[in-house]
């Protein structure tokens, strides 16, 4: 699909960008041709975002162009006067950033925000601009755009907010779109919808798109050409198909392999007639919303059970109630209704003091690794805290135990003295796991242990849990929306949707013979690197 004959719209010529004395973009040459969709992949910190911002001439504070230049249709961006530069941004090249909610003015109606951009590039009165905004919103696939235009950002879902940002980007009629991880953090299903309409719009309008992403699946599905970025350099640039078939660069190959890894499914445990370790019946958790009559039904009559040594995966999109269910299990939330039986004992109505001794047997690894660790405490103290639940220990014993735990989660002993903010996200997750293991519990709730991590770190964590499973005969509730990790860890899977479990079964059964339409949609939204693209309609439905 590449049109190599035409002159490039945007051209990077030996561009280097630095922050202080650190070079972040290092001599990048790149040409963006008319009407092409160009993918840029690479791990965190590779310089993808900085690259996109360099193109639009708006480096983050402290950033400097060290060498080279960016040209738009031959004209160097750096030579534009302030007014030209303003008109250029949004009018010629538009940027779509990560985390759309933060990109919207929280106290302005979204329609007005789009109209504001329209009026920045065109002389229009307010009404005409608003009308244009509504039209753009409709174009980008927002239902009932007239009403939505009057909404404030906080009233929108993440996917919708992302569409608004796309509409803002399109509002100035640019030739080039720079989409910087535009769908990061969205649910797989929503991500697919948003990307779909973005690409569709671009093709319709004949725009060039620079699609920055982590996900090779996305590249495979949408891009014409791709560049792999590592530490500020483009290590490989080429058409997508040959690249996927045979990446030339070893780093590219490594990335591709990690993305392709498709573990074998866990077999279900052999049936036995012992009572399950954890059993949950009709668990219900409603949150009263101040000022509203209707409570949020976060968990709405959920039943499942987990046998000793078994791992149950709880999957479902964001907000479906997975974390809430897990926290009810740990009695961090007082469930509205339903029973929780642990090890044959009904723990539903136990008071905190009575329940505390039981905590040594049930632990939880929290979703956000960082915020679940007291920022003022050292790792040593964080790990020692739960030990008070077991038995009195001398400080020497405690220190030894801390060392053991760190080893168990493959962390260097030296980290015992560190504070949480000195750790990387992967290390923080591991400290969380170690903390849960400190009391040698028989049951752990893992809440999204792999999200927001780089592909390679993700694999390490999965390995770690897998190891624990087999060594300690640990029962686990494994909450995630990363289907790949479900494959490698779960014996059984429960699919949650809007507070209810819509389908439950062995991992194999769910992945291969899903019955419920929602399950199928969830599975389909995964954009694998190695299978045929699905017809778009199927996803957006």
């Amino acid at each position: 699909m590449s049109q190599s004959s035409e002159a490039p719209i945007v051209e990077l010529d030996g561009l280097s960008v630095g922050f202080g004395d650190k070079t972040v973009i290092d001599g990048v040459d790149l040409q963006l041709r008319p009407r092409e969709i160009f993918g840029v992949v690479g791990e965190t910190g590779a310089g993808k975002s900085v690259l996109a911002r360099a193109i639009i001439g708006l480096l983050p504070t402290g950033g400097r162009v060290l060498a080279g230049q960016v040209r738009y249709r031959g004209q160097p961006v750096s030579t534009m006067g302030p007014e030209d530069a303003r008109a250029f941004r949004g009018g010629k090249v538009a940027l779509i950033g990560t985390n759309a909610k933060a990109l919207l003015d929280p106290v302005a109606r979204v329609g007005d925000q789009i109209a504001r951009v329209v009026r920045s590039h065109e002389r229009l009165d307010k009404r005409a601009a608003t009308a244009r905004a509504v039209a753009l919103m409709r174009e980008i696939g927002i239902n009932d755009p007239e009403r939505r235009a009057r909404a404030y950002p906080h009233e929108l879902s993440g996917g919708m907010a992302q569409r608004i940002v796309i509409a803002m980007a399109l509002a100035g009629n640019p030739d080039v779109l720079l989409a910087d991880d535009a769908t990061l953090g969205l649910d797989a299903t929503v991500q697919a919808q948003v990307l779909e309409s973005l690409v569709e719009r671009s093709r319709e309008r004949g725009l060039s798109v620079l699609l920055v992403t982590h996900d090779l699946g996305i590249v495979r599905h949408y891009c014409d050409r791709v560049a792999v970025m590592k530490a500020g350099r483009l290590v490989e640039v080429g058409d997508v198909e040959p690249f996927l078939a045979a990446p030339a660069n070893p780093y590219s190959r490594e990335l591709l392999d990690a993305a392709r890894a498709r573990p074998t499914l866990q077999r279900p445990l052999a049936e036995d007639d012992r009572p399950p370790l954890v059993s949950v019946r009709d668990l219900t958790m409603h949150f009263a919303v101040p000022g509203s009559v209707e409570p949020i039904r976060a968990v709405d009559g959920v039943s499942f059970s987990i046998a000793a040594g078994e791992t149950l995966a709880l999957v479902g999109e964001s907000g479906s109630g997975k974390t809430t269910a897990g926290q009810c299990l740990m009695r961090l939330l007082d469930n509205t209704d339903g029973r929780i039986i642990f090890n044959g004992r009904d723990i539903t109505d136990l008071r905190e003091n009575a329940f505390r001794p039981l905590r040594r047997n049930m632990q939880m690894v929290f979703q956000e690794p960082y915020v679940a660790l007291n920022p003022r405490w050292r790792v040593r103290d964080l790990l020692a805290e739960p030990m008070a639940l077991i038995e009195p220990m001398t400080s020497a014993e405690r220190a030894r135990r801390v060392a053991e735990l760190l080893e168990a989660v493959h962390l260097p002993t030296a980290l015992a003295e560190a504070r949480p903010h000195e750790l990387t996200a992967g290390e923080q997750k591991r400290v969380g796991v170690a903390r849960a293991l400190a009391t040698k519990p028989s049951f752990i709730v893992f809440d999204e242990p792999t999200t927001a991590l780089d592909i390679r770190v993700r694999a390490q964590i999965i390995d770690l849990i897998r190891g624990l499973q087999s060594q300690m005969n640990l029962a686990a509730l494994f909450i995630t929306h990363d289907l790949n990790s479900v494959r490698s860890l779960a014996h059984r899977v429960a699919v949650m949707h809007l507070g209810k479990i819509v389908e439950q079964g062995s991992t194999e059964a769910i992945f291969e013979r899903a019955e419920h339409p929602y399950t199928r949609k969830l599975l389909a939204a995964e954009l694998p690197v190695d299978c045929e693209p699905l017809p778009p309609g199927d996803i957006a439905a």
């Binding site: 965190t44 910190g45 926290q327 740990m330 961090l332 905190e352 003091n353 505390r356 905590r359 040594r360 632990q363 939880m364 929290f366 979703q367 956000e368 960082y370 915020v371 679940a372 660790l373 007291n374 920022p375 003022r376 805290e385 739960p386 008070a388 639940l389 560190a418 504070r419 949480p420 903010h421 000195e422 750790l423 990387t424 996200a425 969380g432 903390r435 849960a436 400190a438």
Partner: protein, 282 residues
């Protein structure tokens, strides 16, 4: 690892240097007052009244011939004592109240907060005058007035922090790890709630100095002839319009520099605490 660079460089910031310098001056004045001050700070010597600044009386004399420089030096003791005492007492009372009220939100807590609202909405100086009228014109009365203002302030700050901290996942995690209410409140939450409090401490000392001066100015402060900056300004206030400027000017400057030093230190404290403040490392 926390990079040492920003912290070290922030020690050289001019604001910090000025703040510490001014603080050091005050400490010197407090400790060495009798040696620094050339005259007695409380003895009237009417023969020398209202002398313009000169070689003997560097900053002049007031209506009763008391040496303004000596009084300013000695006043440092009074003013800072009041400031430190008020803030220390308020911290000791206000912080635990804030933690409890924030952690156990209930009717009592709401009542306490409403009471604080009342106290805080009461015009400062009228409250001060009334209290000093009830309690007598003592240093401790002024301290109590200030505590009435600061306790609600510290409680509020702590409470606000606690309210948000108690919902943070690490509290749930601590509970999972078997921490009881007391441990959660005072071992987990409190240390995390202290940053704004620490910043506020310094600000409050400054406020205390200003308020003490204001109270003295309207006659609800310490007892004459005790040297106190506000009182000194007040004794010169009347004459300002008649051209006698030095009596009010210099003690006022002392107030400004003193409060400024604490403001600067508070700002630097905020900055220092901020650098070690959590930020997810990617």
């Amino acid at each position: 690892m926390p990079s040492d660079a920003p912290i070290r460089s922030s020690f050289l910031r001019p604001a910090l240097v000025i703040g510490l310098f001014l603080l050091a001056l005050q400490l010197i004045a407090i400790i060495f007052a009798p040696w620094i001050a050339p005259f007695s700070p409380i003895e009237a010597n009417p023969i020398d009244s209202l002398q313009t600044p000169n070689a003997i009386h560097w900053l002049g004399t007031d209506e009763l011939g008391m040496d303004i420089f000596s009084r300013i030096v000695f006043a440092t003791r009074v003013n800072l004592l009041i400031g430190f005492a008020a803030v220390a007492i308020s911290l000791a009372i206000g912080v635990p109240i804030g933690v409890l009220v924030g952690y156990y939100r209930g009717f009592t807590g709401a009542l306490v907060m409403r009471f604080f609202d009342f106290i805080q909405s009461f015009p400062v100086f009228v409250l001060g005058m009334a209290l000093v009228a009830v309690l007598g014109q003592e240093i401790w009365s002024v301290v109590i007035v200030l505590c009435m203002l600061f306790v609600p302030m510290f409680s509020r700050i702590v409470r606000a922090e606690v309210l948000s901290l108690r919902e943070r996942p690490f509290i749930a995690a601590a509970r999972c790890s078997g921490a009881g209410d007391f441990a959660i409140m005072f071992r987990h939450i409190l240390p995390n709630a202290m940053t704004p409090v620490i910043v506020q401490i310094s600000v409050s000392i400054g406020m205390a100095i200003l308020l003490t001066a204001g109270l003295s100015f309207i006659g609800a402060g310490v007892r004459l002839p005790a040297p106190e900056w506000g009182l000194m300004v007040s004794s010169g206030a009347q004459q300002m319009i008649l051209g006698v400027w030095w009596v009010a000017l210099f003690p006022g400057l002392a107030i400004v520099f003193s409060v400024l030093s604490f403001a600067l230190l508070s700002d630097e404290a905020k900055r220092l605490l901020d650098t070690s403040r959590p930020g997810v490392r990617r």
